[in-house]
């Protein structure tokens, strides 16, 4: 890609002469797109020039630079550059820049947004700084929303009159640098468009591997900038008054995120091997059976249900499993529904359970409505302590699950109950359930599951 040299002075881009003289590479601006579409005297024109100058000094290959712009007047700036350009939604510039940098860390990713973008996208600013992801963010901070008609923004000074603060602004202006500093990103700086040394600052920011912010105080000549009569001394006075000084205010040393991410995941990452099941057959079940395991948090209901489904599949049946538990997983009910069937299972709901296993009061409460309506030949296997609370036309089978589990070992109540059910219902051979436990669980856990099932068989 070759672009003719372009003389900045002809379009009035305010770049300090000293910095120009250091540059010898061609411009990163597209001459055919100029002049800039900003209002005459708008500070964005200066920022555009400083950035071009910084790029010229860095002599980065154009196709390895991405300029990501936000919405607002500043958001149109990308079209003047001869680099990759991504013009995204209002406030989200950092998100696209983050995706680009994560996907290809070799790219130099420069994001530009207004103070409006910084306000609406504040959460992204905080996160990018916390991650220390290697993007350079230039905030063209002109203290108002230029594009939409000079409304107040998160950096509008107190008392300032704007179209949406007709009697003066009551909201304290945000200090972007101090807001991000506790996260210790790589580089935090503040300057303004009338100052000197912005190009040096931008060069350092772009060269810094981690997250770099340049809060560039700016002039919206059409709106608040004129009202506040902002010029070099007025902006410097504002900086003094607000105690928001110019300069490179922080340099951090935390590792850059995309590199750190790759190093960490390269070292630790490995795919989870699939848990493949051997289908050996062996079930003689000839009809669909709906089973509900109704217990409480901490009873390992879900994994027991998964073993039932797994064993059913291994024995040649079809199976579905659905779990229900409150979002607060360590308390309340845990109810799993398993359907096993020799045929395809279309409907995965269980309205009239064939088998219900009740191991806790919380679980019983969840299935109580269905049990009152179930058919008379439904079997309800219930821990003997809860038997009196079950209201149902079905056949209640009280058994000492909890007591047995206490004897067998920790967390065995569900396997004990399943053992009892298998003894009476013969859904599939017990040895297949044991094989399922060995296939799915760690050895010690599988052994205790098997001990539980065997104790349960005796109850049956």
């Amino acid at each position: 890609m070759s672009v003719p040299d372009f003389d900045l002075s002809t379009v009035g881009v305010g770049v300090a002469q000293e910095s120009c003289s250091q540059a010898n590479s061609s411009s990163y601006l597209l001459p055919e797109m100029l002049p800039f579409g900003f209002c005459s005297g708008c500070g964005h024109i200066k920022i555009a020039g400083y950035l071009d100058e910084a790029l010229r000094r860095l002599e980065l290959p154009k196709n390895k630079v991405v300029l990501v712009t936000d919405i607002g007047c500043i958001g149109i700036v990308d079209k003047y550059y001869d680099v990759n350009a991504f013009h995204g939604l209002h406030g989200r510039v950092i998100t696209y820049a983050s995706g680009i940098k994560l996907a290809n860390p070799d790219l130099t990713v420069i994001a530009i947004m207004g103070d409006g973008g910084a306000g609406i996208g504040g959460a992204h600013l905080l996160s990018a700084a916390r991650r220390n992801l290697g993007i350079t963010l230039i905030v063209a901070n002109n203290f108002n929303y230029g594009m939409t008609g000079g409304q107040h923004s998160c950096t509008t000074p107190l008392d300032a009159v704007t179209s949406t603060t007709p009697h003066g602004n009551l909201e304290a202006p945000l200090d972007l640098v101090r807001t991000l500093q506790p996260s210790k990103p790589a580089f935090l700086a503040r300057t303004h468009v009338f100052a000197e040394g912005q190009v040096d600052m931008l060069v350092e920011a772009i060269q810094t591997p981690g997250f770099a912010l340049v809060d560039m105080w700016d002039l919206c000549i059409a709106y608040v900038g004129s009202r506040l009569a902002l010029n070099k001394s007025a902006i410097e006075g504002m900086m003094d008054e607000l105690d928001m000084p110019a300069g490179v205010l922080y340099r951090g040393t935390r590792p850059e995120y995309s590199a750190a991410w790759r190093a960490l995941y390269d070292e630790k990452g490995a795919r989870t091997p699939p848990c493949l099941l051997q289908v050996t057959g062996g079930s003689v079940l000839d009809h669909k059976v709906g089973i509900i395991l109704a217990g409480g948090a901490g009873q390992k209901i879900r994994s027991a249900a998964t073993l039932v489904g797994t064993a059913a599949i291994m024995s040649g049946l079809k199976a579905t499993q659905k779990d229900d538990y409150p979002i607060t997983v360590r308390t309340g009910h845990s109810v799993s529904e398993v359907i096993v069937s020799p045929d395809d299972i279309y409907f995965t709901g269980i309205e009239d359970p064939d088998i219900t296993v009740i191991l806790a009061a919380d679980g019983l409460a969840q299935v109580a409505r269905r049990l009152t309506k179930c058919s008379p030949d439904a079997r309800i296997y219930v821990d003997e302590a809860l038997a009196d609370s079950v209201q149902t036309p079905g056949r209640v089978v009280p058994l000492p699950f909890a007591q047995t589990a206490k004897r067998v070992g920790k967390l065995t109540i569900a396997p004990v109950a399943i053992g009892a059910v298998l003894a009476r219902e013969g859904l599939f051979p017990v040895h297949i359930f044991e094989a399922a436990a060995r296939a799915m669980q760690k050895e010690a856990v599988a052994e205790s599951t098997i001990a539980g099932v065997r104790a349960g068989l005796e109850l049956g």
Binding site: F86, G309, T310
Partner: protein, 374 residues
């Protein structure tokens, strides 16, 4: 090879096999397990996975990564789709391939986080301002979760568009036997991203005819790439020229609608002499299959059309199927959404909506009773 896994797990397997190499998501029930699995499974195959600070960040990162050359996916549920809305528009405008999994839950608002519904069908269809066609696929079981995820990536790449996988809790979190051989046999061959020749003059949105989709070039590759949220010409420069704008808006529309049949995934099971047709998608298709089996076993007659591609609408097959009957039954786990699309295509037919939004499934018996099938 068989595993006993949930629909969401199959989505993860499908995505990785389809070549997904970037994932960003924000936790939300019942979609969180996709994020959690992607964090573990994607890095070992050379991909990137990250939890965004919110849904806007998650989809924004995906769009950035997709334009840098990676196949990208995100996953959420209804509240997250609300927050994706503006960025789905960006993906349409910027012609960004992107797969969005919506594991629907009962809404509106926070609704029932752990309960299923198909309440977002029209929401996904009209998800963003401006109103452009969307591609939406709806799985009914764990195999579909794999197959349709692969298809979703292919459509996203082929048409350079965001594609929704309209899953829901009753599919995403239901565990079933997943058969790898069947999955590999059923799923389409993953389409590598078409890329522009290095020596061409690259125009990001080149479309000599409105339905033409041109190859992409990754940001950081041989060409300078431009991308913009604003109304633009084929070079991605802002434009106010009504002729150019008309061409581009036709392009976003026609590249999808003119190719609707290429995206048709459905199962049509007509029965000779049947006067009633059930049209179903998602988990309701399972109950519909159950109902059809019961009706036929009892000597009744009924036809079935299961739509996996719900958008773009499969007009030809729907018209053909509807023409054969006088009654159409549409069961949906919402208050009646897709049925309006069917009604518009079935003038003069008796169209019966069977709806339920009580967090419980519509049963085959309910379809038979309310549909007057026996």
């Amino acid at each position: 090879m068989i595993e006993f896994i949930e629909g969401n797990d199959a989505v993860v397997r499908g995505a990785i096999d389809a070549g997904c190499r970037f994932f960003a998501g924000y936790p939300i029930t019942p979609a969180s397990s996709i994020l959690v699995s992607m964090m573990r499974e994607l890095p070992p195959v050379g991909g990137i996975a990250i939890q965004g600070e919110d849904e806007m960040a998650s989809i924004g990162m995906c769009i950035g990564a997709a334009m840098t050359g990676l196949k990208a996916m995100t996953a959420t549920s209804g509240p997250g789709v609300s927050l994706y809305s503006e960025n789905v528009g960006l993906a349409i405008m910027g012609e960004t391939p992107l797969v969005i999994v919506n594991v629907q839950r009962q809404g509106p608002s926070t609704g029932s986080a752990t309960k299923g519904a198909d309440g977002d069908i029209l929401f996904m269809r009209w998800v963003t301002s401006g109103g452009f066609p969307m591609i939406i696929l709806s799985p009914e079981n764990v195999q579909d979760c794999y197959t349709l995820t692969v298809a979703a990536f292919n459509f996203a790449e082929r048409y350079r568009a965001p594609v929704f996988l309209a899953s829901q809790r009753e599919v995403g979190l239901t565990r079933e036997a997943f058969n790898y051989e069947h999955a590999w046999a059923e799923a389409p061959t993953p389409l590598p991203r078409p890329v522009a020749a290095p020596d061409c003059v690259y125009e990001p949105h080149a479309c000599p005819t409105p339905d033409h989709v041109s190859p992409m070039s990754p940001i950081g590759g041989p060409h300078l790439v431009r991308y913009t949220t604003s109304t633009h010409d084929q070079r991605a420069y802002l434009t106010g020229d009504p002729d150019v704008i008309e061409h581009m808006t036709n392009h976003y529309r026609r590249k999808i609608l003119d190719h609707a049949e290429e995206m048709g995934i459905y199962e049509y099971d007509p029965q000779r002499g049947a006067d009633t047709l059930i049209i179903a998608y998602g988990v309701c298709a399972r109950s519909a299959r159950g109902a059809v089996k019961m009706v036929r076993e009892k000597g009744g007659k009924v036809s079935l059309l299961v739509l996996k591609t719900i958008y773009p609408m499969q007009r030809r097959v729907i018209k053909e199927a509807v023409a054969e009957v006088s009654r159409v039954v549409v069961p949906e786990m919402n208050m009646g959404q897709y049925v309006w699309e069917i009604r518009a295509m079935a003038p003069g037919k008796d169209t019966i909506a069977i709806n339920r939004m009580s967090t419980t499934l519509i049963s085959p018996e309910e379809i038979i009773a309310k549909g007057g099938l026996l």
